[in-house]
Amino acid sequence: MSRSYQGVAVCVPQTVRYQRYSSHGAQYFFGTALRQLLSASGLQKSDVDGLSISSFTLAPDTGISVAEHLGIELRWLDQLILGGASGVVSLKRAARVVQNGDAEVVACIGADTCNPDSYANLMANFSDFSTFGVHAYGAGGPSAVFALATKQYMETHGVTREDFGRLCISQRQNARHNPNALLGGKELTMDAYLGARTVAEPLGLFDCVMPCAGAEAFLVMSEERARSLQLPYARIKAAEEGYNAHKDLDLPINGGWCNFRGALYAEADAGPEDIQFLQSYDDYPVMVFRQLEDLGFCEYGGVVEYLEKTDLNVEGAGLAHNTSGGQLSSGQAGFAGGFLGVTEGLRQLTGQVLGCQIADARIGMVSGFGMVNYDRGLCSAAVILEAGESS
């Protein structure tokens, strides 16, 4: 059976302006995202018959509450709670739905609000395992677990804080023209990176994404429909998702992407050398290192050497990486953080960037990762996108 996504267009990348804190509820960000999707596409509310949503702060409301709140009638509805993998998985599932004819136009939206209490509550009640086995030992949130993972990675591969610092600095440089990046206007120097307040050793302030409010959204429809609407679009060359990939490992020595990397590149008929840009999931720098290894851009333990010879700058000749600055520069708007890579990938392929445009963008990869319920992330996903004909 063919696994091709032939005939499917992904288009209309939209971002609802990020804010450090908001007094609005999550529904505001869903509603504003949908309004922007309609305005940018020329579609009416009645044209949208599918909805895929992700949110941490929507509770007690759910996906169907969003439909009611926004006054849309749907033939297909999905709610994904897959953390930073949600955006790629949302795209993948919406594409199948359009391909099968279960819906014609699917709006995919990741949206969250943020206030000081909402984040602490989320951390306290993230999962049964986390509440019992992590929160009870210091209530350090995800930074505590990623500090353990980062320390372990540094010891295993001889990686230093400066190595992670260079990655963070390159992302901040990419953010400098992105008005949506909450930290975009602030240059990051190595001294500032190393001298920043320690959160959980070895992690400093600039290793940790800043929680914020906002939304990321896009539309999935047939290529025919996108062309008739004169919308520039991207096609899906291949997409994969995987869960609980290292259930039998003492330590998560990979991020799970390695389990489907072969299938992903085979379906795309492409390899890492063909990828012009990578939008990786950058909640913490160590996860970017893991993605570069797992997705075959370099050998395990070879990231530092790879970065010495590979320019990650959006305007460079190497691998353009997190071209909007990523979450480390933009902020992490809850589940929208998992959609950020998808919308930025679409922006690059359709010439609708917020900041810097990479030259002649034709093919790129977006990767997602999420849900550290106890000691490791459980969801990984990746998609290879290419520019559509009308782009």
Partner: protein, 110 residues
């Protein structure tokens, strides 16, 4: 003090698991019991927290936690009380819980 700790095990297949679950992760039996295992293990990683979301811990910062591997349990995250910890060192987990949370663990020198 004893270096043994109480963890959940499966009455049917003997699988030992942590954190505790409603069913056995291996054979899915719900016939689970508490079993006492040796707390000696290896320090996989550790961190010193300088930030916490809860007032109770904020007063005690900096606060050390560690990730420890035991023979039968791949990873326990617990409070670390060793002065100069290093990854790979031999450690022991001790149970210092109260009636509210009997499975509260601390990591000490072997």
């Amino acid at each position: 003090m004893s270096s043994s700790i109480d963890v959940q095990s499966c009455s049917e297949c003997g699988f030992v698991q942590y954190p505790p679950r409603e069913v056995c992760r291996s054979c899915l039996s719900s016939d689970l019991e508490w079993t006492t295992i040796e707390g000696k293990g290896e320090l996989l990683s550790w961190t010193r927290l300088h930030h916490s979301f809860e007032a109770e811990f904020q007063q005690q910062l900096p606060w050390d936690i560690a990730q420890v591997k035991l023979d039968k349990v791949s990873c326990i995250i617990a409070n670390l009380t060793i002065e100069n910890p290093s990854v790979g060192m031999k450690v022991v987990i001790r149970q210092k819980g109260d009636s509210d949370n009997p499975q509260y663990f601390v990591v000490e020198n072997e």
